[in-house]
């Protein structure tokens, strides 16, 4: 029964649900007077329920109050339950006016049916039925076949050079990872941390760490802006979050049964806040999370220990932090841990494996050109990290580095392909991660002057033309197109993700609307802004595609030919490390410089 001049859609939907369930219903037209409505009700011999809807907010309280007074006066209240709902309804007011039930505007026809069939009982805190997606292997079904023999051969030769050069080399990072693995194994077997074996292993580990890291193990000061999380706070937090999670209302994954899988990046500095963000993002439809660690921690030899907070651009990679995050992670959530730069790459992958993460991130081009790590050191460490990822069965994504400096996309992609080939040779499973990014090189060459569609599509087309491999768009999608304007940021994210979906990639990483805000941590609500925008945009497009113009194919061809030239130059150089120093994959001309952290630390194996 609509108490509106025209609106009755909600009631029509509810009537449909009730009719299909076998109930007898009468839908009165809108714009009847209260007397007419009550007259029609009185004509029914048997009337169990009257469902009233009101869309217009103005005057709703008065008209509803009058209706209930008349219903009382005519005796209707004695034989019939009366419920009210709609956009104009304040549920609290409905109770005050004496309605048997009040339904908010978000009520579904199923909920109304449930009310009728349960004899007027309302289900408080009803949980939506969520379609749970099982974890997926993003690499499944890909052959990793290179479509051109020439490219395949170039990459094989370069991979040979790399593996041959690195064959007998080791580093403090590699040795620390091996020692740490032994320590963790001993602890898992129940050995006390005071046992002589563990003490000995720890001494060897600390000998390979920077003093700042070693001192923290010995009970001395933690590095600046780093604090131990008080044990009582952790206890309280766990209890509190468990209670909140038991009431969590879950939404469906945004893309339901199709790709891409949606990832969020989380690294507030505290594993506790990370858990809160993670749970809410899971509830709002995220498929996976990527744990971000601070860039500064990558420059120290050694990883800290314990449940630690850190004020900076990420959450510290300690085994205890990771285990706590994992403890609260939903079963179906995919989890990635970064290991692509710095001096602790093998240990980071070790942690990822032992903490049962699903993914990691590796790319010696990224970490050594523009992100501070010595190329030789990072190559050696990354090869060990790749072996570890294969050992643990964890695929890793290879992020392209064209966001850094002015590295041209072809150079960045040549690097992606080298990493892919090396990974395959070592038995690992790489996922290529081209950035949907308004990068410096693209800005300078005006490739995205008109739109963000064509060149990003060209990237995907080029990679697909070269190799049959999984693709994951990051990081996040639309990087450098965001501003601090929340609406603009949400829209650009949503459209980039729909483009990625149209191009049938396997996964995407989503920004928050705080992406362009650099003076503080990412807040929770801005994450949900973006997810809501993605959801709404997907609702708009459904199965339709964003289609690039023919320019995308022209640019894809250009990228492919340039990639080939770069790989040829690299092979001809016959010294891969020199290639990195000499700028074949990006150098001073492109605004990036080989890193220095860890220089001269690799040595020949004993």
């Amino acid at each position: 029964m609509p108490l509106d001049p025209v609106h009755d859609l909600g009631l029509r939907l509810i009537k449909k649900a009730l009719d299909e369930a076998g109930h007898k219903t009468i839908l009165l037209p809108p714009d009847l007077s209260l007397d007419e409505i009550l007259k029609r009700a009185a004509e029914q011999k048997h009337l169990d329920y009257i469902l009233v809807s009101r869309t217009i907010g103005y005057g709703a309280a008065e008209i509803l109050a009058r209706f209930m007074d008349l219903a009382e006066a005519t005796g209707l209240r004695k034989k019939t339950k009366i419920a009210v709902g709609g956009m104009g309804i304040d549920v609290k007011l409905a109770a005050e006016l004496g309605f048997d039930a009040g339904f908010p505007s978000t009520t579904t026809p199923d909920q109304a049916l449930s009310y009728i069939e349960n004899r007027g009982r309302l289900f408080q805190n009803s949980r939506q039925t969520r379609i749970i997606r099982n974890k997926t292997d993003l690499t499944k079904g890909f052959s990793y076949k290179f479509h051109q023999d020439r490219t395949q051969q170039l990459l094989e030769d370069i991979a040979d050079q790399i593996l041959s050069w690195a064959k007998n080399k080791t580093s403090p990072g590699i040795e620390r990872a091996r020692i740490k693995e032994e320590i963790l194994l001993c602890e898992k077997k129940g050995r006390s941390s005071d046992s002589s074996k563990i003490k000995h292993l720890r001494t060897r580990y600390l000998d390979l760490c920077d003093p700042e890291i070693a001192h923290s193990y010995l009970g001395q000061n933690l590095p600046s802006r780093t604090w131990k999380i008080p044990a009582q706070r952790v206890k309280n937090f766990q209890r509190h979050i468990r209670k909140l999670c038991s009431q969590l209302t879950l939404r469906n994954p945004i893309f339901l049964s199709q790709n891409p899988r949606l990832f969020v990046q989380i690294g507030s500095g505290s594993p506790l806040m990370d858990i809160v963000h993670m749970k809410i993002c899971e509830a709002w439809g995220a498929d996976g999370v990527i744990t971000i660690c601070p860039s500064s921690s990558a420059r120290h030899e050694g990883l800290l220990n314990g449940l630690l907070n850190h004020e900076g651009d990420g959450t510290l990679l300690t085994f205890q932090n990771l285990l706590l995050i994992k403890k609260f992670m939903a079963k179906g959530t995919l989890w990635g841990i970064r290991a692509h730069r710095g001096l602790n790459s093998p240990e980071a992958v070790l942690y990822a494996g032992l903490a049962k993460a699903d993914l990691t991130k590796l790319n010696f081009f990224y970490g050594s050109l523009g992100a501070g790590t010595d190329p030789a050191r990072l190559v050696v460490d990354t090869l060990e990290s790749i072996r570890l990822s294969a050992k643990f069965g964890i695929p890793f994504d290879v992020p392209s580095n064209d966001e850094l400096g002015g590295i041209p996309t072809p150079m960045s992609f040549a690097g992606l392909l080298v990493m892919t080939k090396v990974a395959l040779r070592l038995g690992a499973k790489p996922i290529l991660k081209p950035l949907f990014c308004y990068s410096p090189w693209i800005i300078l060459n005006e490739y995205m002057l008109d739109n963000y569609v064509d060149f990003n599509a060209a990237k995907i087309k080029a990679l697909r033309a070269i190799v049959d491999a999984p693709l994951w768009v990051g990081e996040p999608a639309g990087f450098m197109t965001h501003t601090e304007d929340r609406i603009q940021s949400a829209v650009t994210t949503a459209l980039h993700i729909e483009l990625a979906r149209s191009l049938a990639v396997q996964a995407v990483t989503i920004a928050s609307t705080d992406e362009a805000y650099s003076r503080g941590v990412i807040n929770l609500n801005p994450r949900l802004d973006s997810m809501k925008a993605v959801e709404a945009t997907h609702r708009f497009l459904g199965q339709n595609q964003i289609s690039p113009s023919p320019k995308a194919d022209i640019w894809a061809e250009y990228l492919i030919s340039k990639i080939d030239e770069i790989l040829s130059s690299a092979r001809e150089r016959k010294d891969f490390i020199r290639c990195l120093h000499e700028g074949i994959f990006g150098g001073p001309n492109e605004g990036v410089y080989p890193g220095r952290a860890g220089r001269n630390t690799i040595r020949e194996k004993a």
Partner: protein, 75 residues
């Protein structure tokens, strides 16, 4: 759970509005003043754009920093 509604804010409180002013600088100043008037002595401007006769602005008051005690977490 926290006794006050403000105490239940997970991390930040954003206030978004349109303030009448003559230029962006005045708009920013007024936005900070607005937050002070609302009782938030420490706030940051996330976004501010001057259009026509005023600024579209978003301000943030940090209620809970990740590494500190959380007001919504019982002691």
């Amino acid at each position: 759970m926290a006794d006050s509604a403000l105490g239940r804010v997970v991390d930040g409180l954003d206030i978004e509005t349109f303030l009448l002013c003559e230029n962006e600088e005045e708009g920013r100043n007024q936005a900070f003043l607005l937050m002070k008037e609302l009782g938030f002595l420490q706030a940051d401007v996330i976004f501010c754009e001057y259009i026509g006769m005023g600024v579209r602005v978003r301000m943030r008051a940090v209620m809970n920093k990740p590494c500190h005690h959380y007001s919504w977490l019982p002691e």
